[in-house]
């Protein structure tokens, strides 16, 4: 086997044409924490051509139970810098762009992006992100809290805005309880949906997948 064979196992699943689509895709990952770090790693391993990572945080001890790209030696360092280093080690063919900033009303989405992963940890930033996406952009939203999580795909300009769906929901005070397996499960669903979306077959368009992480139930909620 040589490096060119690195995608053999997944090409056997979805074919060469789909692999080429992935290699031509540009995805923005907003938030590189519990969900975003795992999503970034999975898309990097899958060979998505270009990832733009957005975050402004530094690695801290409470991150290490679930944020898969970081380790003890990274404490206090820029998450994006560490994420970039780790992702390049995993797959040097993927182009990694870094936007070290908060997502606020001035956020500008790079023009080449067609699919966005909302891996943020608060509603205000989520709504700013969505508001600043161009029409037709696909937004794959994920959220997690304690023993529950959800994933949905929305298309800007066509779907109900996330801000409308979540109107009236308030950010919980204090730290949000979350563990490593839960974050990995929701991130796995998000990465799967991002790949589906890039390949033109979103499975959760205007449809929440709601995951009970404690009792392992799955529900759908159409919006």
């Amino acid at each position: 086997m040589v490096m060119a064979d690195r995608y053999n196992r997944q090409i056997a699943l979805w074919g060469k044409e789909s692999q080429e689509k992935l290699e031509g895709a540009a995805v923005l990952i907003a938030g590189v924490g519990g969900l975003g770090a795992a999503v970034a790693e999975l898309l990097t391993r899958a060979g998505v051509g270009q990832l733009t990572l957005v975050d402004h945080g530094r690695v801290d001890w409470p991150d290490l139970n679930r944020q898969l790209l970081y380790c003890e030696a990274d404490i206090g360092r820029s998450k994006l810098q560490i994420a970039e280093r780790q992702l390049r080690r995993i797959n040097s063919r993927v182009k990694i762009n870094l936007l070290e900033q908060q997502i606020d009303p001035s956020f500008i989405c790079p023009t080449e992006i067609s699919t966005v992963a909302d891996c943020l940890d608060n509603y205000v930033s989520r709504f700013h992100l969505e508001a600043n996406l161009p029409d037709e952009t696909y937004l794959v939203h994920g959220g997690i809290e304690a023993n529950q999580g959800q994933v949905i795909t929305l298309q800007k300009g066509t779907s109900q805005p996330l801000a409308d769906i979540f109107t009236g929901v308030q950010q919980p005070r204090g730290e949000i309880p979350v563990n490593g397996p839960g974050a990995a499960i929701i991130a796995g669903y998000m990465a799967n949906e991002l790949l589906n979306t890039i390949l033109g077959k979103p499975q959760l368009l205007d449809r929440f997948l709601i995951v009970g992480l404690g009792d392992l139930h799955l529900d759908f909620l159409d919006v």
């Binding site: 809290e145 919980p172 979350v178």
Partner: protein
């Protein structure tokens, strides 16, 4: 019938996915919540409403896919065939 669906933590609390109730004339979401509570032994209204009966900010209530904040909030009418959902989303990432 009106179908009321419970999601995530509400579902875990109530240990059931949904309840179906016959429609009655001129009922609102606020009234429906109290009627659902009478059908279910586990108290859950405190997850949706405060002591003054106003909407709390942790759970989305949807009628036919629309957040009631964009309809008439607790005064949103419900009728036969409607699907009402209580969904407290996860906020973290």
């Amino acid at each position: 019938m009106i179908t009321v669906q419970f999601y995530s933590l509400i579902r875990l609390l109530l240990k059931q996915e949904k309840v179906e109730l016959p429609a009655i004339g001129d009922e609102t979401v606020g009234q429906l919540i109290h009627r659902v509570q009478k059908q279910i032994p586990t108290p859950f209204i405190h997850k949706l409403l405060d002591d003054q009966g106003k909407l709390l900010l942790g759970t989305i209530i949807m009628v036919n896919r629309r957040n009631i904040h964009h309809l008439k909030k607790l005064q949103t009418p419900v009728k036969d065939g409607d699907v009402v959902a209580f969904f407290p989303p996860g906020a973290g990432g």
